[in-house]
Amino acid sequence: MLVIRNLTKQFYQRNEEITVVDNLSLTVKKGQVFGLIGPNGAGKTTTVKLISGLLFPGKGKITIGGFPAGSLEAKRKIGFMNENPQFYYHLKAREVLEFVADLFEIEKAVATKKIDVLLKEVGLKEAKELAVRKFSKGMHQRLAFAVAQINNPELLILDEPLDGLDPLGRLDFKQMILKLKKSGATIFFSTHILSDVEEICDEVAILHKGKIIAQGSPKDLVKSSKQSLEELFVRSIRNA
Amino acid sequence: MVFLGLSFVAQINYDSWRRYSPPKLLGVDYNVYIEPQPLSPSLAKAVSFGSTEFLADYYWLTLIQYYGGGTPYGKYRKLAELFSLVTDLSPKFQQAYQTGLIILPGEGFPDQAITLGEKGKKNLPDSWEMPYYTGLVHHIYKKDYVSAAKEFQIAATKKDAPPITQYFAGIYYKEADQRQLAYQIFKTVHDTTKDDFVRERSGKQMVHLEMTFFLEDAVAKYHQRFGRYPSILQELVFKQIIKEVPISPLGINFVIDPQNGKVSESRK
């Protein structure tokens, strides 16, 4: 579903070239839940943005369902939720979803039904006519999650989806992701919270300074190193 | 921004109030504050975003306020400059030229008025008012009757000029002692005008001038015979050169200057 080959991305800061993503390669199979973990500044958000076409690769290739990332066809297949999602202040929740539905050129009747379903799913049914500027952070994230699913995407890309949520919110989100997993969705998400990863992911990759330093299913990684994932994580980072 | 707008309107009203309130309320010097500082024409055009007519209006309003506000300097120093700027920005602003031609000479700027008039003639070539008003300035303030007459002749050729315009040209030439020219003009007017009053007046002027020429011929004959000029016109009758001194249809008496034999009108 998602194939990344030799992806490299560099930025120029104060006349210095910084390599944020360094020769990254990974594959996410259909129906998998893949977690990209790493400390702050590892390049997780950059990778996510490269997959969703907001940034352009310096070197390497990314394909989604066979289409290059950033192309319109690829974007039709994905649902994207970015870190700290923001919406247009002047809109209500329902209007945000209607706007996004228009961007996907979804028919009005179909969209209206789907919007109701999604809002219920993410727990925002009562807030349907509420102006977005009055939303709490948790509500923002829920709405963003709904937005990401409006087009029934083949691949869901989530950047730090559980960041900043209260325990109740985190529980809700995890349940939603598991539910989607059961229905066969492919999910790629980045996070620095390891407990989430252990519960939900089929496969994880540990990212450090733009490079993958460990990859595999959580169970396998824990078994082979005979440590908890957290200990493994810390040691890998320290040793890298 | 709404408050900015309100303060702007308040400022206009405040300025008007200050201008029209009596000076002794606030001390003599307050008018210094209001003396306008018009921009140069090229600078004004540059900042106008192309809205030259708008700027012309703005300076027109400034001019009116300035003129209406009195001045402690005894003279409206900026008046000519303002008229010049307004007409530079809006060359076809006829009202501005006319007002300037009327006001400027009275305030002590007859030359600037004439310059303004020339500009008006150039920019509004079809207007009869431009040469007409300019001619008036020549007559009233510069006592330059020939120039006045020329202006009136030009004015008379424009569409819609009042019928009496050409007649006035004749009057001015007569005043300037250009009598032959005046006679021709009166004759033309008399023959061509459709206005009864004007035709009648022109006819009378013609007769008057004919009489003047008649008298001058007689004076020349007298001079030839007696080597000097008659001291009064009656002498021409006494010496039997003419039968009688003609009475002008204009009701003006003829007099003679004994020094040079010139026949002119008595100024009673």
Binding site: Y89, L103 | F8, V9
Partner: protein, 254 residues
């Protein structure tokens, strides 16, 4: 594609409407038009002139303020508030996004311009009981000029900060209105300078083409060919600006 374009256009339009700046501008313009009534009455009978000139110039100034302040921030705000991620991660091409922003602001300017024009016509009619046809043409041309400068401000804002864009766009406005002076200067200059100045004359938008305001006082309506020329110039120059802007914007990363 058209549905997507319209969605972004409408969204941009609604977003600028909620911007309080816009309301104050329209209100202020309305105020100035009313003030011109006052000025007209102390102008020695030149009411019609004053009302027409003041109103049309106010219309231009305030539409341009909308362009400078809102137009230059259109893209910047999206990036700052991160709403741009919302849109560009969807199947929306960069061209569509850019064009949608442009059309949205044009719609805003059209609405604001129409409100101002209606007020102007009402005031003029109330005072003088006649509205010269030239006035409608002049108002229309003001709106076209604002649209063209919107394209300019959008172009600048795709590669520089809002403040710089506003300053550059203002500069373009001044030069655009002074193009006649530039041309005259060029005719008198040495060949090298002449070449440069002529280049400037053709490169910068000749905004005086859209200046029908000075003819309103004399009720000189533009001929059909003049109107055609204005529209053609507007269309071609604006399209040129949009193509340029899209080319830059395409390379932008977020």
């Amino acid at each position: 594609m058209r549905k997507v374009l319209w969605a972004i256009t409408l969204n941009t339009f609604r977003e600028t409407l909620r911007d309080k700046l816009l309301y104050s501008l329209v209100g202020f313009a309305v105020l100035v038009i009313a003030a011109s009534l006052l000025a007209g009455s102390v102008s020695l009978g030149q009411d019609a002139r004053v009302i027409q000139d003041f109103s049309l110039t106010a219309m231009l100034v305030f539409l341009l303020i909308i362009t400078y302040f809102i137009g230059t921030q259109l893209v910047f705000k999206e990036v700052e508030r991160k709403t741009i991620y919302l849109v560009l991660s969807k199947p929306v091409s960069r061209e569509t996004f850019y064009l949608g922003k442009f059309l949205g602001l044009c719609l805003t300017i059209l609405v604001a311009g129409l409100i101002m024009a209606v007020m102007f016509v009402i005031v003029l009619f109330a005072k003088t009981h006649s509205v010269p046809t030239a006035a409608y043409f002049a108002a229309g041309a003001v709106i076209l000029e604002a649209w063209l400068l919107t394209a300019v401000s959008l172009l600048f804002s795709s590669f520089t900060s809002p403040l710089s864009s506003a300053i550059y766009t203002f500069g373009v406005t001044l030069i655009g209105h002074g193009s006649a002076t530039v041309w005259l200067l060029s005719q008198k200059a040495s060949p090298v300078i002449r070449g440069i100045l002529e280049g400037v004359y053709y490169l910068f938008p000749n905004l005086e083409k859209f200046n029908l305001r000075n003819d309103v006082v004399f009720n000189l309506t533009p001929s059909a060919s003049q109107v055609g020329l204005i529209l053609l110039y507007f269309a071609s120059y604006t399209v040129f600006l949009l193509i340029l802007g899209v080319a830059v914007f395409r390379k932008d990363e977020f």
